[in-house]
Amino acid sequence: MRALAADPGVGPIASARDLVKTYGKGEAVVRALDGVSVDLEAGELTAIMGPSGSGKSTLMHCMAGLDSPTAGSVVVAGEEVSSMSERRLTRLRRDRLGFVFQAFNLIPTLTAEENITLPLDIARRRLDRDWFDTVVDAVGLRDRLDHRPGELSGGQQQRVACARALISRPAVVFADEPTGNLDSRSSAEVLGFLRGSVDELGQAIVMVTHDPTAASYAHRVLFLADGRLVGELEDPTSESVLDALRELSPAHAQPARPGRHADDVVQGAVAR
């Protein structure tokens, strides 16, 4: 499994080692992450899949410096994240990371353009006009730049969010269910753009999703269950992802804890 193959020579753009994250104490302790190690390469779109409660969001949050692991280490762009102060984390997010959330990605009072340039404005960095044009053209929003988020469709809003995530040329973009609220056509636009930015701009992107179609846009898919990395798929298709998920579903896997969430999610994914 390449995810576990540490290769210090070339150096992944971001990596996690033996991540453990627990919530609660004593009897009630929940291990959201139970020793996960991952490497992310530049120019690669990685999808993380798994049932609800599998730890996929926690893994992303820990790698993005939004949450701190109980044990283990995270290195992003050569910097140890898990020991950073709040101030350095803020700077890391601002300068080296990009984010796309499932919903509520934009500041409603700012125009599309202002939303896109927000990270640079916050950092008081000069806007690279060429890069801005490249990104805006890639998301196809040139004629929408003066609009407020309220005047944009859901798909357009997510594309603005993608453009914002890329504008500061981050080391890694973290996308948390970026198409969760979109119809299939808008989803295809957003996912196509994400893949394109990896292939053409050399961006590293990590995407958490439970949609096999979305996962099929990735270079590879990591499967999580019960806080552990349980599988990996290179060059996935919707079908191969569905097959892999089916293998991970409770019918095949060991009868883990009451898999309420796992059932729902996987069946939902199949239905889709």
């Binding site: 101030r87 990009g98 984010f99 959330f101 990605n105 009072t109 700012l110 990270p119």
Partner: protein
């Protein structure tokens, strides 16, 4: 549904906390006013019942002044002292004690005058050995002109002890006297300084002309008050002297006290109402935000079958809870406030009644007021919640539109035009200008409140422009936050606007008053120096002493006293006729000043027009000493002499006893070529022993008048301060709730790299923008309206318009400070938000 409402309030107590606090502060003001009134009332009732213990009283039968004082008999004609002996011969009369009371100054142990607390009077009383109201508790009663006794609280305030010798200004002159005793009344005397003299000394000082204002009559055992009055009435000339029962006098006294206290509490209640009005904005805003946040919950309740009325009621129940909680705490805070005030007064030497009364009426009125304000303020948001369509429950996003309604804006515009027209009409003197101005001003304020949401986007766009340009991107974010919901920002700022409008108006009024008085002094006072007393009464003998100095051409005493003119009780001032043209430069409209030397009087032009008086007309004057028919010799226009009628000194003295017609000011004119500065030193030396006298030039005199205005202004500011504090709470409240509402947005900003300090700055900028907006709007309205006052009230002496730009600048600077302070807690809260919790907040 009630359960839903109560659970709602319990689980979101924090949201309602500031609303409760707003009600608390407003109600504390109301409850405090009522219980302060009760406390003062019981203090004075105790004084009356322990000092007016006579069974009957004799007093003048005619009222001679605008305000009569039943306790002292002032404002009635005086009665002959000799009447006491006649009355004592009446069957059933045990003794008759004439009231020998007059102004006094006593010098304390520290060499300065003992100043009575809280504006209470300083007076001396002739102590009759058998007076049942006063008891000698230490030492003995005074005997002879060089002995005095002091009331217990006055003794404590003076720092003197029995056996000490001090200086006393009694009636017309200075006396060195020994304190030989301490005398107690049955009740705290509310800060009054009371000196006891022996009867002979008091008679010489205050009844030298053989008259007194009242006499207390004590009956023999078994004679009722009514019987006593009947018997007295048989023996007196009832056209000059009236006999009343002790009961009646005490009732009259209490009524006059209640009247004054009524004015005070009405005055205070106006400010309490302002505070509650401002508080209502906070409550309305809170409920509006809570309703927005819970829109889906209401939709769900409607979907499962709750009727609009039930949803409406459930919100009103919450409003009632907020109102009752706030009011109950407010009543407690009000009592605490009064206790604090009493302690403060006590430290100023003003002992008040020990009880802080809290009756059912006060509690009921306070709680009802607080609850009513709360319910009324919540009604509009509650209606909106009730009208939530059930389908909203299915929607994903909560509707966030908050457009200022066009109906509201239109109503505001109409009202604004009407108000401005009314104000303009008032400046042209249409109708009762004061009333028209009041109505116009109220309309303008209301219009601005209605228009505020429409004004928010452009006004804040302009106000925010400098910040947006300099603090990128924080300024733009803050501007977006304050303009996205104009109605919310408007009502938050409106709370501050009201207080600031009043402060701005008060500042303009005060500055204009000061400028006007300065002009009056400059125009009318041509004297070189003035002598005034801190007790408002310059001793008679000072006038002669000053006039006798080398370099003094004239020393003219201005006397003020109650006189009825043609049966209309008012007050008059008196001057030596020669003062016109020397000490005073008064505009002569008609007649001549020379006529005053022949016993004619001068009347003010305004009054002459109102009463249709002309030179040569006769007026009947009635004073405490008698009546006189005089001719009008001159019509004048003078603002320095505030009374409608100006009498020559000799006429005045035949009407008003010196004990009642005090010398307000002495105008001093130096002979040509005299060094005024040196003369001032000389006069200062002469008046030094009287302790309370000051010698001023016109400049200092105007300054002193300006200081008095400033003192009033400070009180007004203090009273308005509470409404501003409440408005600040409103800003805190709105910020805190809107931050809670924007949790996910804040999470997003933080996720894309906004630092904590930057986030806190955004919140602070929002707060400052709101505060400055409210202040600028309020100051503009207040100053604009107050600027018309000098035009409308020019005849009342307010001739000059002066706008205190410096002070107004300070107000705007204060708004910035207020904004920063209000933002502290919400900004810290926002900055402390966990990024992950915030982005995943539902």
């Amino acid at each position: 549904m009630t359960r839903v409402a109560l659970r709602g309030i319990r689980s979101h107590l924090g949201r309602f906390l500031l609303s409760v606090l707003a009600v608390l502060l407003g109600v504390a003001f109301v409850a405090g006013t009522f219980s302060l009134r009760s406390m003062l009332s019981s203090t004075f009732t105790d004084i009356i019942s322990s000092s007016l213990v006579g069974d009957a009283y004799l007093r003048g039968a005619q009222e001679t002044a605008g305000a009569t004082d039943p306790t002292t008999g002032a404002g009635r004609n005086r009665i002959p002292l000799a009447l006491a002996e006649e009355a004592e011969r009446v069957d059933g009369v045990r003794t008759v004690l004439p009231d020998l009371t007059g102004p006094v100054v006593v010098v304390g142990a520290d060499g300065t005058a003992v100043i009575s607390g809280g504006g209470a009077p300083s007076f001396a009383v002739g102590l009759h050995p058998d007076d049942p109201a006063a008891t000698v508790v230490a030492g003995r009663a005074p005997d002879g002109a060089d002995e005095i006794a002091l009331e217990s609280a006055s003794l404590a305030a003076s720092g003197l002890e029995v056996g000490d010798t001090t200086t006393v200004v009694v009636g017309q002159g200075l006396v060195e006297a020994e304190v030989v005793g301490e005398v107690a009344f049955g009740a705290p005397v509310a800060g009054a300084t009371i000196v006891f003299l022996d009867v002979a000394t008091a008679t010489a000082a205050y009844a030298a002309d053989g008259t007194v204002s009242t006499m207390a009559v004590y009956a023999e055992e078994g004679v009722s008050e009514a019987e006593l009055v009947e018997r007295l009435e048989a023996s007196i000339d009832r056209s000059e002297v009236a006999a009343v029962t002790g009961e009646q006098l005490r009732t009259e006294s209490e009524e006059s006290v209640q009247e004054v206290l009524g004015f005070i509490s009405t005055f205070l209640l106006v400010f309490a109402a302002i505070s509650l009005f401002v508080g209502a904005f906070i409550i309305a805003n809170t409920f509006q935000m809570v309703v927005r946040q819970r829109q889906r919950e209401f939709a769900m309740l409607r979907a499962v079958g709750a009727s609009p009325a039930q949803v409406f009621t459930s919100i009103l129940v919450q409003a009632v809870v907020v109102g009752v909680l706030g009011s109950a705490a407010g009543v407690g805070a009000g009592v605490a406030l009064v206790a604090g005030l009493r302690g403060f007064f006590a430290s100023m030497g003003m002992e008040l009644s020990g009880r802080i009364p809290l009756d059912g009426f006060t509690v009921l009125v306070s709680v009802l007021t607080g609850t009513l304000v709360s319910v009324v303020a919540a009604a509009v948001p509650a209606r909106r919640a009730a009208l939530t369509p059930p389908v909203e429950a299915m929607r994903d996003e909560v509707a966030t539109h908050d457009r200022g309604s066009t109906v509201r804006a239109a109503a505001g515009a109409v009202l604004l035009v009407g108000g401005v027209v009314a104000v303009a009409a008032a400046t042209q003197g249409v109708g009762d200008a004061g009333t028209v101005l009041g109505i116009g001003a109220a309309a303008v304020v209301l219009a601005v409140l209605l228009l505020a949401p429409a004004v928010v986007p452009p006004a804040l766009g302009v106000l925010a422009a400098p910040v947006v340009a300099t603090v990128r991107p924080l300024g733009a974010l803050a501007r977006g936050n304050v303009t996205r919901l104009p109605r919310r920002t408007a009502s938050t700022a409106s709370a501050l606007m009201i207080g600031m409008a009043l402060v701005g108006a008060a500042a303009v009024l005060a500055t204009s008053t000061q400028a006007s008085t300065r002009v009056i002094v400059e125009n009318e006072s041509t004297s070189d120096l003035l002598i005034q007393s801190a007790t408002q009464a310059v001793p008679e003998e000072v006038v002669g002493q000053v006039a006798a100095l080398d370099g003094v051409a004239r020393a003219d005493a201005v006397r003020v006293g109650g006189v009825a003119v043609d049966g209309d009780a008012t007050f008059a001032v008196a001057l030596p006729p020669g003062a016109f043209g020397t000490a005073l430069d008064v505009r002569l409209v008609d007649g001549s000043f020379d006529s005053l030397a022949d016993g004619a009087v001068a009347v003010q032009e305004q009054r002459a027009q109102d009463e249709d008086w002309a030179v040569g007309d006769e007026l009947e004057l009635v004073g405490a000493l008698g009546r006189e028919v005089v001719t009008i010799g001159a019509v004048i226009e003078s603002r320095a002499l505030g009374a409608p009628v100006v009498l020559p000194e000799d006429v005045f003295l035949t009407l008003v006893p010196t004990a009642e017609g005090s010398i307000d000011t002495v105008f001093v004119v130096a002979t040509a070529g005299t060094d005024v500065a040196a003369l001032r030193e000389e006069i200062t030396t002469v008046v030094q022993p009287y302790v309370v006298l000051s010698v001023l030039d016109n400049e200092a005199f105007a300054d002193q008048l300006a200081d008095q205005v400033d003192q009033v202004l400070v009180i007004l500011y203090a009273l308005l301060g509470l409404s501003i504090v409440i408005a600040v709470l409103g800003i805190v409240n709105t910020l805190a709730l809107s931050i809670a509402e924007r949790t996910r947005e804040i999470g997003l900003l933080r996720a894309v790299g906004l630092g904590r300090l930057q986030l806190a700055s955004v919140v602070t900028i929002e707060s400052v923008l709101t505060a400055v907006f409210g202040t600028v709007l309020g100051v503009a309205v207040g100053v604009g309206l107050a600027s018309t006052l000098p035009t409308v009230f020019a005849d009342e002496g307010l001739s000059e318009l002066a706008i205190p730009w410096g002070q107004l600048g300070v107000l705007v600077a204060l708004a910035v400070v207020i904004g920063v302070l209000a933002a502290l807690w919400p900004a810290v809260r926002a900055a402390r938000m966990d990024v992950l919790d915030a982005v995943s907040y539902e």
